[in-house]
Structure formats: structure tokens, C-alpha cells
């Protein structure tokens, strides 16, 4: 018989920020909190820099040609405890900029020639620990 739990908030009992979930193989477990993306967004740098759609990301900042900055709404644990994966429209790729902290990050966006460029659509996801 299927069971459905209606709940607004999930909190670990032993450790508030740690809930184990049985994995697809029915034996090992994984961690709910660690497995959740903590932020994601699409952004546009073709004109005025803007976040088109975002989760847990605040204001967008144009830091220069191809350089996009944004802040977290709920900060990450530290500058070294999160990572991003992203994709760009067309012939472009992105890397982390120099200014990464627990509260904000920069994405530097290059064309395949290596030059910093402003394209009209990028997407990225952030994994790591929240503060």
C-alpha cells in the first residue's frame, strides 16, 4: 500500500541538517541535504545583465566583459565548500571568477577562442553545503 506523507518541513532528528535516504539499489543510503542543489539559475549578459530565473540567488552584477557576479540569498558554508556546473548557449564556456566567497560568486564566460564574451543565455547549478 502506497503511503503519502504531507509535511511542510523536513529536519533531521539526531542532526538537524542530515537526513538519510535509501538509494535506488534498496540497500545503501545517501544524504538528502548533500544531494540537493542549493542554487540554480539562468542568466543573460547580452544587454543589461539579469537573472532570468533563479533559486537562492540574489542581485546580478555586471563585473565587466563576460564577467557575471551574483550573491546568494542563503549563504554557502564557505568559499571552498561549493561548486558549480554550467552550460552556455552557443560557443561558450564558463569558469569560476576570482571573487568567490560564501556569500557571492563570479562566473567568467569565454568564447571558444578564450576571449571573455557576453552571451544571452547561461545556466548553472550550485551544489555544496549551506551556512
Amino acid at each position: 500500500m502506497a503511503s503519502v506523507l504531507k509535511v511542510n518541513t523536513l529536519t533531521g532528528v539526531t542532526t538537524a541538517g542530515s537526513i538519510a535516504v535509501t538509494s535506488e539499489n534498496n540497500s545503501t543510503t545517501t544524504n538528502l541535504q548533500s544531494g540537493l542543489a542549493k542554487a540554480h539559475m539562468t542568466y543573460d549578459m547580452s544587454g543589461t545583465v539579469e537573472i532570468v530565473y533563479g533559486f537562492n540567488l540574489g542581485s546580478a552584477v555586471d563585473v565587466g566583459q563576460g564577467k557575471f557576479g551574483c550573491s546568494f540569498i542563503n549563504n554557502m558554508a564557505s568559499a571552498r565548500e561549493y561548486s558549480t556546473a554550467g552550460i552556455a548557449k552557443g560557443n561558450a564556456y564558463m569558469v569560476h571568477g576570482a571573487a568567490q566567497s560564501a556569500s557571492a560568486m563570479q562566473l567568467w564566460n569565454h568564447d571558444w577562442g578564450g576571449d571573455l564574451s557576453d552571451f544571452d543565455l547561461y545556466g548553472l547549478v550550485v551544489h555544496g553545503d549551506l551556512a
Partner: protein, 41 residues
């Protein structure tokens, strides 16, 4: 240690909104954080 056996999770106030306590003191959203698609080609 406590274990809850359940087949589905639904928000109580809003069906599509469940808050999860993060690693620290902040909270995040279960629905927003879940990967929606993945594949191996």
C-alpha cells in the same frame, strides 16, 4: 536514530513546497533542489 517509511512526499500547506533544514542553520527547498532529469548515453 529514527526511520520514516514513506512512498511519497507532498507539502502540507502547498503540495509542491517542502522545506529542508540545510547543513548549517539555513533552510532550502526540496522541490527546487532535486535534480529533475539525468541520463546516460
Amino acid at each position: 536514530m529514527s526511520t520514516l517509511n514513506v512512498d511519497a512526499l507532498v507539502g502540507n500547506t502547498s503540495a509542491n513546497a517542502i522545506t529542508v533544514r540545510g547543513e548549517g542553520s539555513a533552510t532550502t527547498s526540496l522541490q527546487q533542489g532535486l535534480l529533475k532529469v539525468h541520463l546516460v548515453t
